[in-house]
């Protein structure tokens, strides 16, 4: 009987806890919510933790100062408080669905996407419900057709096109450079395998060799894949990987004598989910020659945006410095969501505001949002225009430092 009593007591405690939580959520006053789903469990955990920290810092700043950034004159309404709502989706679409419904029921008017599986599962639903969302994943699937998920760095194919442009400009030999994909074997990595991408590479003078896959988080060095690139005399390998994939890949490249300054000349270029500042910190000079497109500025860059982020980190958590560059991504997401809400509130009173109002009067009206240099260009959106930036930043690791190679225009490959 004692066991049964114990079970009943535990059940009642859980029930009471649930009721208390729902009561606390209902007790909020004149508040708008930002945030959405995060992937704090799984391969994107590190990125998501940085995004979450940035959201928290920026929301705190706006709530305290009612300013949007030191360089911006617009003010946030004094009587409206911003609250951050988030849940860990574990990068599982099934979980993301119920989280979406929960946050929608709580009254969130904007949303965020944590990864490609979530974007694919929620894209149609968000459009149907008229929700505007920012996204940490930027595959070309977002453009087929453009929905209501907005990016703040280019889609993967446009990022790789910029690397291809940069590499071609520096190509000295008379023969065609040979290019192959070396990409993660998940939806994110494989999203670049579209005919338009291959056609663009061939159009600008590349010889396309083939495709090799690396696990998203490799458990052993991708020796076979790299040897395949070597045997096929590949000059440039393009892919979409996260740092847990790109770091062991480059280490193995060096071991096999492959790299821009190695015996076998091969350049590996990846789209943004490879974070070059993080990569540089972990790899140092061992990773020299690795190229990343669509990235954010390094922490030592003296742009107003980076300075602002540094100040906020020092102010709000001086002992917990978040060095991951996806902090900048999260910062941009928070800025975009709050700007969309601010613009929408100018047209529709907060009490009557619906997600579709924020989409139409907010997201679609964002034009030349000055991010202080955190994004490669100011951000603009519109119906059908979901890529916020106009150009792609390309960086290379040289002598253990992130060196900006320049910016290249978007090629709109999707």
């Amino acid at each position: 009987m004692s066991k049964i009593r114990l079970v009943l007591v535990a059940f009642l405690m859980m029930l009471a806890g649930g009721m208390l939580l729902s009561h606390q959520a209902d007790a909020a006053g004149k508040t708008v919510y930002v945030g959405g789903t995060m992937s704090l469990t799984g391969p994107y955990a590190e990125d998501s933790a940085a995004v979450l920290a940035a959201f928290e810092d920026y929301v705190k700043y706006v709530n305290e100062t009612k300013q949007l950034a030191p360089w911006r004159k617009e003010k946030w309404p004094a009587d409206v408080t911003i609250e951050l709502l988030w849940r860990d989706d574990e990068l599982k679409p099934a979980k993301a669905l119920s989280i979406y419904e929960e946050l929608k029921a709580k009254g969130i008017l904007v949303y965020r996407i944590s990864g490609s599986p979530i974007a694919l599962a929620l894209k149609d639903r968000l459009k149907q419900d008229g929700f505007g969302a920012t996204s940490m994943a930027t595959g070309p699937y977002l453009m087929k057709p453009p929905g209501t998920i907005f990016t703040y760095y280019p889609i993967y194919t446009d990022e790789l096109a910029a690397i291809a442009d940069w590499y071609k400009e520096n190509w000295k030999e008379s023969r065609k450079p040979r290019v192959a994909y070396l990409t993660a074997d998940n939806a994110m990595g494989k999203s670049i395998e579209i005919p338009e991408m291959k056609a663009y590479l061939e159009k600008i003078g590349y010889e396309f060799v083939g495709i090799q896959y690396v696990p998203l988080v490799p458990t052993s060095p991708p020796t076979t894949q790299l040897m395949w690139l070597k045997q096929n005399n590949v000059d440039l390998a393009l892919g979409v990987m996260i740092n847990p994939g790109s770091q062991p890949t480059v280490k193995e490249m060096v071991r096999l004598g492959m790299g821009p300054s190695q015996a076998f000349k091969l350049t590996l270029g990846c789209a943004l989910p490879s974070h070059l500042p993080v990569f540089a910190g972990a790899m140092g000079t061992l990773g020299d020659g690795f190229v990343v497109a669509g990235g954010f500025p390094p922490w030592d860059e003296l742009s107003p945006g980076v300075k602002f982020e540094t100040e906020l980190q020092k102010k709000y958590h001086p002992n917990k410095w978040v060095s991951h560059s996806q902090y900048m991504g999260g910062f941009l997401e928070a800025m975009i969501q709050i700007e969309a809400l601010r613009l929408a509130m100018q047209k529709v009173p907060l009490e009557n505001l619906k997600p579709a109002d924020v989409l139409n009067h907010g997201f679609y009206q964002i034009k030349n949002l000055d991010t202080g240099g955190i994004s490669s260009t100011p951000i603009s959106y519109g119906p059908g225009k979901i890529e916020g930036v106009e150009k792609v930043r390309v960086d290379q690791l040289q002598k253990g430092k992130v060196v900006k190679q320049g910016v290249w225009p978007l090629r709109n490959i999707h």
């Binding site: 009987m1 049964i4 079970v7 859980m14 649930g18 939580l21 704090l40 469990t41 955990a45 933790a49 979450l52 920290a53 709502l85 988030w86 849940r87 860990d88 989706d89 574990e90 990068l91 599982k92 679409p93 099934a94 979980k95 669905l97 119920s98 989280i99 419904e101 929960e102 929608k104 029921a105 490609s116 599986p117 694919l120 599962a121 894209k123 149609d124 639903r125 699937y141 087929k144 074997d185 998940n186 939806a187 990595g189 494989k190 999203s191 395998e193 579209i194 917990k320």
Partner: protein
């Protein structure tokens, strides 16, 4: 709930009946009324959770027949769900078939895939069968990615919502009803399958396959039947899942979900129909609880405190059940029922 003392089974009909007392019929009627009324008082979120639980129940019933009753441990169950999902998605999205025609085809395709990958079970068992079924998952996912022109590869496929007559089932409530109908049918079918000759053969194979063979049970046939039936369930669940998402993508079928489905069986109780339901419900609810607790814990401690919380809690629950209640929640429920049935003469009280 129970078969109270003083009520006797007097003929074969009564003995075979699934529901034997008026009280059981009454409770079932109340349950159906509750299900019908759910959309009236449940939020979209709760309906979404219940819909996902319903799909999980269908899938776990299949795994229960294969693993719980027949003892063939499968770690590739989600791969078979993917087969059903993609067959249904291709037939409806590319060929324009109706959902109602595509669904049985999806179930059949999954069943056939189960037959193919079940063939090794005739030669291997235990750890080696686990490895073979893990391989089946990765082979299926690899094939889906390679057959890009048909499956959409990594880009996936947009899947239309099912229609019933002229009614498109695109609301949360309508899909909830659809899934619940299938979940109830799956439960009813499972209850009956295990009482057939095949069901008894499954149990005999699970308990001792050598003894079962000596008694004249055809292992080759019954093991494959278990794979076929288990995978048919997976196919139905997969089909319902992608039509609910409105999109089919390989990322919706991660390998780890096979592990969690097995975990649901452990928590609920292997080889028990109510156990499959209890396991699916309890682990899904645990997921939701952890999702809510994550931000609270994060605010109180640090963002990292919320990371992997769901993984840890699920793993912990499975370990605790394996140690303290290996027969699962169903066994615990039976003990509670027995206590009240025997009250006031419980053997515990008497001791």
């Amino acid at each position: 709930m129970g078969f109270g003392s003083g009520a006797f089974r007097e003929n074969y009909g009564q003995d075979m009946a699934l529901l034997r007392t008026r009280r059981q019929w009454g409770l079932l009627a109340i349950f159906f009324v509750f299900l019908l009324a759910c959309p009236l008082f449940c939020s979209d979120r709760v309906l979404t959770i219940m819909t996902m639980i319903g799909i999980a129940i269908i899938s776990v019933h299949g795994l229960n027949i294969l693993t719980g009753y027949c003892g063939q441990i499968s770690m590739g169950h989600v791969g078979f769900m993917a087969v059903g999902a993609y067959v249904s998605a291709i037939l409806t999205a590319k060929l324009g078939w109706s959902f109602w025609t595509a669904l049985p085809c999806a179930a059949l395709a999954s069943g056939l895939a189960g037959l193919v990958f079940g063939l090794p079970s005739l030669k291997i068992k235990g750890f080696y069968l686990i490895m073979a079924t893990i391989a089946s998952h990765f082979i299926i996912i690899w094939l889906i990615l390679q057959l890009r022109s048909i499956t959409g590869g990594a880009d996936g496929l947009a899947v239309p919502k099912p229609q019933l007559g002229g009614l498109v089932l695109n609301s949360k409530a309508s899909y909830f009803y659809l899934v619940m109908v299938f979940a109830c049918l799956a439960t009813l079918l499972s209850l009956n399958i295990i009482r057939t000759r095949a069901g008894r053969a499954f149990v005999a194979i699970r308990d001792n396959d050598l003894a079962a063979e000596v008694m004249g049970i055809n292992l080759w046939s019954y093991k494959l039947q278990a794979f076929f039936i288990g995978c048919v369930y997976a196919g139905v669940a997969g089909s319902l899942l992608v039509h609910y998402y409105g999109f089919a993508s390989v990322d919706q079928f991660p390998f780890m979900d096979s592990v969690w489905y097995l975990g649901m069986l452990i928590v609920g109780g292997m080889g028990s129909i109510p156990g499959a339901i209890l396991g699916a419900v309890s682990l899904r609810l645990l997921d939701e609880l952890v999702t809510i607790a994550g931000p609270i814990l994060s605010a109180a401690v640090a963002a990292q405190a919320a990371a992997s919380l769901a993984l840890i809690s699920r793993g912990l629950v499975i370990i605790l059940f394996l140690i303290f209640e290996p027969r699962g929640l169903d066994h615990r429920w039976e003990m509670i029922k027995a206590y009240f049935k025997l009250w006031p003469f419980s053997h515990e009280e008497g001791e």
